[in-house]
């Protein structure tokens, strides 16, 4: 089984498309960092235009490595599912298209083992991608912009809020957020693998995965009460942004942030459970279908 996984990772590592994801992320992060280094103050002015009178902030300190990472993640975690789809959507259908699936399945492994290894390889690819994002957006940003207290801007209900997290209370939140993102992106990977089981070329499942994610994301962003209540709870994309919950710090009765606390841990936990249930469901259907499938490619 381990040698099978090694083979899968070897194949992924030798395909040029693998590096498209890493190159795209590198380019986006570097552009962000350059833009904020050159003119971050304009961005801060825009963000703070409604609250400038109420708060006295040192804008030069507000743009720090932690803040940069948060801004970058907000953008990237919409794009990364597309990159994960490129690999996951190709997992089985790509082999079928190349004519290697039938060869693989005549080797002395059962189909469940092969599919599980495909899943593990897609999962590891997702982890590598997230580690790369973490290195670039967190650690390189800390090198360029330094470390300081982190400011989070958010809209809660009708009001805009600024949350301040002490710099020695941030790092663990990032580790937790990246862990959460790994689970969320694994949902995309399993969806890609599931669709890949039914196809005989990789374009279909890749495009289908991306379309589903985009469609669900768009619907998840429609802020209409009826959709909030009846549609959003059924869309896995609603829970994919749950990583932000790790930066919503708990506040005491006097409005002061409580170090090491989370505003709503049960909500994060429930979102995680729902995402894991999606992974299990998608994988279950994929295993069942792959087991029964006649290989005609």
């Amino acid at each position: 089984m381990f040698s099978l996984l090694q083979i899968e990772l070897f194949k992924i590592s030798r395909r040029p498309r693998t590096y498209i994801a890493f190159a795209a992320i590198t380019a986006i992060v570097l552009i962000f960092q350059f833009a904020f280094k050159a003119d971050g103050e304009s961005y801060m002015n825009l963000m703070l235009q409604n609250v400038q009178d109420s708060f006295d902030l040192d804008k030069s300190k507000a743009i720090n490595g932690y803040f940069m990472c948060y801004i970058i993640l907000n953008t990237l975690l919409v794009q990364v599912p597309i990159l994960v789809s490129l690999i996951a959507g190709d997992a089985i259908s790509g082999e079928a298209n190349m004519g290697t699936l039938r060869l693989m399945l005549t080797k002395p492994y059962n189909r469940s083992q092969l599919l599980f290894v495909k899943f593990l390889a897609a999962f590891l690819f997702t982890i590598f991608l997230l580690v790369w994002i973490a290195i670039l957006s967190l650690f390189v940003s800390l090198l360029i912009f330094g470390a300081d207290d982190m400011l989070i801007f958010r809209v809660k209900g009708d009001e805009s809020q600024i949350l301040q997290i002490s710099k020695d209370d941030v790092l663990w939140r990032y580790f937790a957020a990246f862990g959460y993102a790994a689970v969320a992106l694994t949902v995309i990977a399993t969806l890609g693998i599931l669709l890949s089981v039914f196809a005989e070329n990789s374009i279909g499942p890749i495009v289908a995965t991306v379309c589903i994610v985009l469609f669900f994301t768009i619907v998840s962003n429609i802020n209409v009460p009826i959709i909030d209540k009846h549609v959003k709870p059924w869309l896995f994309t609603t829970y994919m942004v749950g990583w932000k919950g790790f930066f919503y710090i708990g506040i005491d009765n006097e409005g002061q942030p409580i170090k090491g606390s989370l505003e709503n841990w049960p909500a994060i936990r429930n979102s995680l459970v729902i995402l894991i249930a999606h992974i299990a469901t998608f994988l279950g259907i994929a295993f069942y279908s792959f087991q029964k499938k006649d290989i005609l490619s």
Binding site: L4, K11, R14, G99, L105, T106, K107, P108, D294
Partner: protein
């Protein structure tokens, strides 16, 4: 004779279409078994069932005396296969592809062993070229190297000469014969060309529309005594009258511009002499085995063909 493949009343339906219907046959140890049928006859479906790629609707398959479905893993360790056009991983070299499939078979082969395998199929000098630069014939040979890498006892080759140039066809044919003679492999090879199979196989099976037409040894099925001699003469009607006195009626048939005479191939010179001595000019003489004739009829038309009787 030890049976290596035993197929009993195998059926496969896709929706309402019966791709394979009640098919039974046996391949014995050391056989080069030709599996013949026109395109769409059900050869690939049968082969895929032998390799567990397709689930049979009903019937049973035993390989090496064991039930395939129940002992899939241990059986497949002893089987190597090339199914249709093996494209392999185009972005990897021949050596990397072979190494990868060796590992998938649970083997850690040295560089020398892998190069030796590539040498057997004549690809040692292109071992580090990417497969995307290979011709179809080279891919086919690499596919065979992949099928052989774990030294299987049974080799299944589905249309291995498809898309090859004449030299490629000869190379594959020689390779199959060498594998059987020098390494004692049991080989099942499918084709839609009888001429191809009769050059390599010792036994053959013909299927048509998913059903068995005939199974037996090539020697008996392609017996020279069952040759059809097709001749074109200056006066076919008079020739037939003469031939009817020489041979029994049932062996002589007029078909368009030709006369078909079923007789031993070695009697051809006597036939020619007999006709020319009776002042009949002969424009052409062709030899076709009765099985070959039957097979040609199968591949020519979609109409119902009566079962073959030798």
């Amino acid at each position: 004779m030890t049976p290596i493949i035993e197929v009993n009343q195998l059926c496969k339906s896709f929706d309402r279409f019966n791709a394979v219907n009640n098919l039974s046959f046996t391949v014995n140890k050391g056989d080069i078994f030709g599996f013949l049928g026109e395109n769409g006859a059900g050869k690939s479906t049968t082969i895929r069932m032998l390799l567990t790629l397709i689930q049979p609707t009903s019937g049973s398959i035993q390989l090496f005396g064991e039930a395939l479905q129940q002992n899939r893993k241990s059986i497949l360790q002893r089987v190597g296969a090339v199914i249709e056009k093996p494209d392999l991983y185009k972005y990897l070299s021949a050596y990397e592809n072979l190494n990868l499939f060796a590992k998938m078979s649970g083997l850690k082969l040295s560089k020398d062993s892998l190069m030796k395998q590539l040498d057997i199929v004549g690809l040692a000098n292109r071992s580090h070229s990417k497969v995307k630069t290979f011709s179809q014939g080279m891919k086919q040979r690499l596919g065979i190297a992949v099928a052989l890498v774990h030294d299987p006892q049974l080799i299944i080759l589905d249309e291995p000469t498809n898309g090859l140039d004449p030299q490629g066809i000869v190379d594959i044919r020689n390779l199959i014969i060498r594998l059987s003679q020098e390494r004692g492999k049991t080989i099942l090879v499918s084709s839609h060309l009888l001429s191809e199979i009769e050059l390599i196989a010792n036994r053959l099976l013909i299927i048509h529309k998913g059903e068995k037409v005939v199974e037996g040894s090539v020697k008996s099925l392609l017996d020279p005594a069952e040759t059809i001699i097709k001749i074109e003469t200056s006066d076919n009607q008079f020739a037939i009258q003469l031939l009817n006195k020489w041979k029994s009626n049932e062996n002589i048939e007029r078909k368009e511009n030709e006369i078909h005479i079923k007789m031993h191939k070695n009697d051809t010179p006597f036939l020619i002499r007999f006709l020319t001595e009776n002042n009949i000019d002969i424009f052409s003489v062709k030899h076709v085995n009765s099985l070959e004739d039957y097979f040609l009829n199968l591949t020519k038309s979609d109409t119902h063909v009566q079962p073959f009787t030798n």
